[in-house]
């Protein structure tokens, strides 16, 4: 049984490795464009660090330490692969860089992690693989961990990651941050990938599966990195604010018995005020730049929900207006669904249902649990018990989380109970 001290030492070491991981991979891959090669060259060094650092502490210059180990390995590899001229050239290139770096103190390694994120979210890369690619190359997660979080088979995930890295090299994707003209649209892809990674972790509300819980923490970490490297980009700040607002309510989503607690019934005292304050400050900073966007609006919705801790009520009219604006930007059926829920709070359940009816037939919502749960809740309020039961059944059948499923079943059972 590892002691709490050991665990702390391991967590500290792991965090330090992760910080160095993306930096070194980015640095080594920028000339060769060979992300897989850079990861290979560094893999032993990272493994060695995870064995050594928890015991002896994180070295003062972690990157120089990793470089020294990696260099030894690169030289070994060069010797082994001498038969292949091309491979040897390649390893020599990496080995040269490592030698240069090992001579420095590690602190002057340029931070190319942002560049690496832009590479991962390049338009030539399939959007679905961008978040996994980022988690692997910037943070060093292995394919099996990523596969579990994204509900994909580990073999498939490995193949997709290999293909994506191959594409980076073969297509000659440039290792550079796009210039001003392209920055906004390309940044959007980076932010979308970070948010997708966060959302995968967020969908494990109990935080029972620590790997997935880490994923939302890592999403926030990536969001912090982008926000700190691009502090003039309001949407980068908006995304971070959005994630922090969501994270602030993580614990409140379960009661002492592990039962699901919907937002409307959460006790604001259970929210993390520090995270909320940080999110609010970021949102204000972003809004001063005068360019509104999807993530700022979504963060503003969360901010309106968080305001209940002070005012004791939720300003649904304001939330509905923000969803109007969001829908105009995103045309997302999920936004349309949330908008319908807000409309129901402002104008009554019938108006909300009418807004939902406009979405009937959207294939993207057909197997989306929250759509059916929202529909069931509104049908309950308009007294259409049978239709509500049917909608609850759909929601229950589509839910993978046992405590949310239990919650929906309780709601369904209450439909036919006479009011107390």
């Amino acid at each position: 049984m590892p002691s709490a001290n050991d665990e702390h030492a391991w967590a500290t070491a792991e965090a330090a490795v992760r910080r160095s991981y993306g930096k070194l991979v980015a640095y080594l891959a920028r000339r060769t464009r060979d992300v897989a090669g850079a990861e290979d060259a560094l893999s032993d060094a990272f493994a060695a660090a995870l064995l050594d650092w928890p015991k002896h502490g994180v070295p003062e210059r972690p990157e120089a330490w990793l470089m020294a180990v990696a260099r030894r390995k690169a030289i070994d590899a060069a010797r082994r692969r001498r038969s292949s001229v091309e491979a040897a050239d390649h390893v020599r290139l990496i080995s040269d860089e490592l030698r240069q770096l090992a001579d420095t103190d590690g602190s002057d390694i340029p931070d190319d992690r942002l560049t690496l994120m832009f590479v991962c979210a390049h338009p030539a890369i399939d959007p679905a693989i961008r978040p996994p690619l980022m988690l692997q190359t910037v943070l060093g997660f292995d394919a099996a961990t990523i596969a579990s979080a994204f509900l994909v088979s580990p073999t498939t995930m490995s193949q997709r990651l290999v293909r994506a890295k191959h594409k980076i090299r073969e297509a000659g994707i440039a290792f550079q941050v796009p210039d001003c003209a392209d920055l906004t649209s390309r940044l959007d892809a980076v932010l979308a990938a970070i948010y997708a990674a966060f959302a995968e972790g967020w969908s494990d509300p109990a935080g029972t599966e620590t790997r997935r819980r880490n994923l939302s923490e890592e999403g926030i970490w990536l969001g912090r990195l982008v926000a700190s490297l691009l502090p003039e980009e309001p949407e980068a700040l908006g995304l971070l604010a959005l994630m922090l607002h969501a994270e602030a309510r993580r614990g409140a989503r379960r009661n002492g018995q592990g039962d699901y607690v919907p937002l409307a019934e959460q006790d604001p005292a259970a929210w993390d005020i520090k995270l909320i304050d940080e999110a609010e400050a970021l949102l204000q900073q972003a809004s001063r730049m005068g360019v509104i966007g999807r993530y700022q609006l979504e963060a503003a919705v969360q901010s309106a929900h968080a305001a209940r801790r002070i005012s004791g009520r939720t300003d649904w009219a304001a939330i509905a207006r923000m969803y109007d604006a969001l829908l105009a930007i995103t045309h997302s059926p999920v936004v349309a669904l949330n908008r319908a829920t807000a409309i129901a709070e402002v104008h009554g359940a019938a108006a909300g249902l009418a807004a939902l009816d406009a979405l009937v037939g959207d294939r993207r919502l057909a197997d989306y649990q929250p759509y059916w749960a929202a529909r069931a809740g509104l049908l309950d309020r308009t007294g259409e018990v049978e239709a509500a039961e049917e909608a609850y059944d759909c929601a229950i059948g589509l839910e993978a989380d046992p405590s949310v499923r239990r919650f929906l079943q309780q709601r369904r059972a209450q439909l036919r109970r006479p009011p107390a």
Binding site: L151, I396, G397, L398, A400, Q409
Partner: protein
Amino acid sequence: MKYLLMIYGNEAALKATSKTESDQLLAAYGAYIEAMTKAGVIVGRNRLQPSASATTVRVINGKTQVLDGPYAETKEQLGGYVLIDVPDLDAALSWAARCPGASHGVMEVRPIWEM
């Protein structure tokens, strides 16, 4: 593509659940099948009697051998299956995760060998 979702569960644990819990589980299965029917992915499904009711048959050197009980005595036994038709493995895995059996036991997802 067709996939067989095999639902493995701990029979002893299932037996020990309260009436309320097992009613809830049954209703969850009903809703799950309903959702798959609505999505048009379900081809077939069945729940199996407990593994104690199983009989194994094999022919060794021309002689039949019949034994009581399941093929493998494991803690988790096959308790039922769903045959689905979906575009790819990703879709099959997301249906597997939604099965109430996924949070009580293990789901095994196998592609059908199309002849």
